[in-house]
């Protein structure tokens, strides 16, 4: 392996710029509009995440238990939170850098929130083998309030989905068993932030089987997930002076699992049932602060156009696929609309969506309605990548249609940016965006 020289790096950079210039020159006008919209969405999404991050400088939503336990790790005090330790250990890193303050506890989730945009690009590109699909996926994730609000808070979900996407990218781009092992480790990290991260194993394993870049037996390396999870947990217990052998760790994990199953007895006005998530029944305002006559909102409401398009796809796409599979004479109509590669990628993303919905369907008997809209965050990330793949494919034949669609999505993001990025605004202006009482704090 040789290190690149400065001259080589400059040449590579020039070649890349030349490639982009040529691509721009070759683009028809609608695609150019789409490119501009997507670029502004990516840059704007990054700015929305970073600006005013540390305000308010007190705990909002669920930050308090996570941050206090993150702080406990630094003081070698036992963690009493009901999630695995890794997310809190990561939050603690930010607090070591910036101190025990709101910037300290929101720094690491922000970095993961920005990384999620990059990973959405890679996942879109890997799944659909198309840079444009990756670009669209990154823009959709960047300019969506669901992801923005979790990037701006000291919460676990943003980090969990970042590792989830990372694990998916690693699995689908793996060329040797080592790649699959890396994917397993990343999914293990995701699981160690929140248990639901383990569901990534399902789409990752199927993706490995479908992509066929490595031996089918290589998926066995995904078995490293529970090992990584247990090791992280053992390390966290050791850090706080608790018994950290395998048996003691297992007892802690089982105890927490039983506690989670029992959560159905609890009441919380922010809960929403699983069937309410795809229809935005109760998005939560993650951060709210009032100063003077103005308030700042960071709502987890998504981009309405993208959200309801993905919900429609969840219903229509599987039905259409089954119909085409049964009535094979319809296949040529389908293939004139979507090719097999895009269909395969979209179905894999749908499987990802279902994998993360399944735990909440399965545990409904014990947890009742004690579920929250942010459980839909990983599901939605799969759907946005799927939508990006479909848009990118359709853009080749229906450029104007897709330009119009993404233009409207861009305008929706522009309209909602103030309630995603905590811009000071009157209550009336906020209510003009958060239409229903369930959408408001």
């Amino acid at each position: 392996m040789t290190l690149p020289t400065a001259n080589g790096a400059v040449q590579a950079w020039r070649a890349q710029v030349a490639r982009l210039q040529k691509a721009w020159a070759d683009m028809p006008a609608p695609q150019r509009f789409v490119t501009v919209f997507l670029s502004v969405m990516v840059v704007g999404g990054a700015v929305l995440r970073v600006q005013g991050l540390a305000w308010p400088n007190w705990f909002t939503f669920d930050e308090e238990p996570f941050v206090k336990n993150a702080h406990s790790y630094a003081l070698a005090i036992a963690d009493n939170n009901d999630h695995p330790p890794f997310g809190k250990l990561l939050i603690a890193v930010g607090m070591l850098l910036f101190g025990y303050n709101s910037l300290g506890w929101r720094y690491v989730p922000l970095v993961f929130g920005l990384q999620t945009v990059c990973l959405a690009y890679w996942l879109g590109r890997v799944v659909f083998k198309d840079r444009r699909a990756g670009f669209m996926a990154a823009a959709f994730v960047a300019a969506d309030g669901f992801f923005i609000s979790y990037s701006r808070s000291g919460l676990l979900d943003g980090m969990m989905i970042s590792f989830m996407l990372w694990g998916m990218v690693a699995a689908l781009s793996a060329r040797t068993w080592k790649g699959v092992l890396a994917a397993g480790a990343l999914i293990g990290f995701s699981t160690s932030v929140k248990w639901s991260g383990v569901m990534t194993v399902i789409p990752a394993a199927l993706g490995i089987l479908l992509w066929r870049r490595v031996s089918i037996f290589a998926i066995l390396w995904l078995g490293v997930v529970p090992i990584v999870h247990t090791l992280i947990w053992m390390g966290a217990l050791r850090l706080t002076g608790k018994p950290s052998d395998v048996v003691s760790t297992w007892k802690v994990i089982v105890g927490l699992y039983k506690h989670h199953l029992d959560l159905g007895h609890y009441k919380n006005e922010l809960t929403s049932p699983w069937y309410g998530w795809p229809i935005l029944m109760h998005p939560v305002v993650i951060k709210l602060s009032t100063s003077g006559l103005k308030s700042r909102y960071s709502s987890s409401i998504g981009n309405l156009l993208l959200w309801f398009t993905t919900t429609l796809l969840v219903v229509v796409f599987p039905i259409a696929t089954v119909v085409v599979a049964v009535r094979t004479r319809l296949e040529r109509y389908w293939l004139s609309f979507l090719d097999a590669r895009t269909t395969r990628g979209a179905l894999l993303m749908l499987l990802g969506w279902f994998s993360f919905m399944a735990p909440w369907l399965a545990t409904r008997s014990t947890r009742g309605n004690y579920t929250f809209s942010h459980y839909y965050l990983p599901c939605y990330s799969f759907l946005l990548v799927m939508l990006a793949g479909l848009c990118s494919h359709l853009e080749r034949k229906h450029g104007k249609l897709i330009a119009g669609y993404i233009g409207v999505a861009f305008l929706v993001s522009l309209f909602y940016a103030p309630v995603w990025g905590e811009f000071p605004m009157s209550v009336a202006a906020a209510h003009a965006r958060l239409w229903f009482p369930n959408w408001r704090p």
Binding site: N57, N101, Y107, R212, R213, I216, F217, S291, D339
Partner: protein
């Protein structure tokens, strides 16, 4: 044989010593599967070989870039939490969250007197004179950080003489701490009853109040 035309080195890497022979056979069979799925005329774009390294490197770059932004803009000093305590005799700037009805809603009950500053009700619930409009009568408030304290003089501030908004708003004031009440009862609505609080509550006066614009 390579399934992905722009990745000449991919196939040999599959056939490592760690891969069973079946893997090679699968890798050999791969081009057919891909040829079936690809649409004619649509270029196939496979990810770079070291994608995982790219993503890790990108992650580190993001972390460092964000850290540099915050470091160079003095962001921490501008926004980070003020950690100074509440000192007897000290003055602290507070941001208080209120609604205009709080003028009548909020009250406290205690027999203690702090140099003329006292609650509007005695410990037995009997009112002391006419509390409304008296700059020496204490009321309970919360800061935007949800810190409870007792203060007098808020509603006499010139900034609160103007018509007040219907919605919840905040006021920034200088709070001069004159004492601490250990046993005090609070009332949060006009028709509500007094309930004891278990914590010690700071007592003081508010001055120089402004509504942040």
């Amino acid at each position: 044989m390579n399934a992905f035309p722009d990745e000449p080195a991919a196939a040999p890497e599959i056939a490592t010593a760690d891969s069973p022979p079946a893997a090679v056979a699968e890798a050999e069979a791969e081009p057919k599967a891909v040829a079936e799925t690809a649409q004619p005329g649509v270029p196939e774009d496979s990810p770079p070989r070291n994608l995982l390294l790219y993503t890790v490197f990108g992650f580190l770059c993001i972390g460092v870039a964000v850290w540099l932004i915050f470091a160079f803009t003095g962001y921490k000093d501008k926004y980070s939490q003020q950690t100074e305590g509440w000192h007897l005799g000290g003055t602290k700037m507070l941001e208080i969250t209120i609604i205009r009805e709080d003028k009548k809603n909020l009250a406290c009950a205690s027999d203690r007197d702090f140099s003329g500053v006292r609650c509007g009700y005695r410990a037995n619930g009997q009112p002391v004179g006419t509390p409304e409009g008296d700059a020496h009568i204490l009321q309970p408030f919360n800061t935007v950080k949800n810190e409870l304290f007792l203060a007098a003089g808020l509603w006499q501030a010139p900034a609160l003489k103007e018509p007040l908004p219907k919605e919840r708003f905040t006021v920034v004031c200088n709070y001069h701490v004159v004492g601490v009440l250990k046993a005090v009862s609070l009332r949060w609505s006009l028709t509500g009853s007094f309930g004891p609080v278990e914590q010690s509550v700071a007592v003081g006066t508010l001055s120089d109040c402004v509504i942040p614009q």
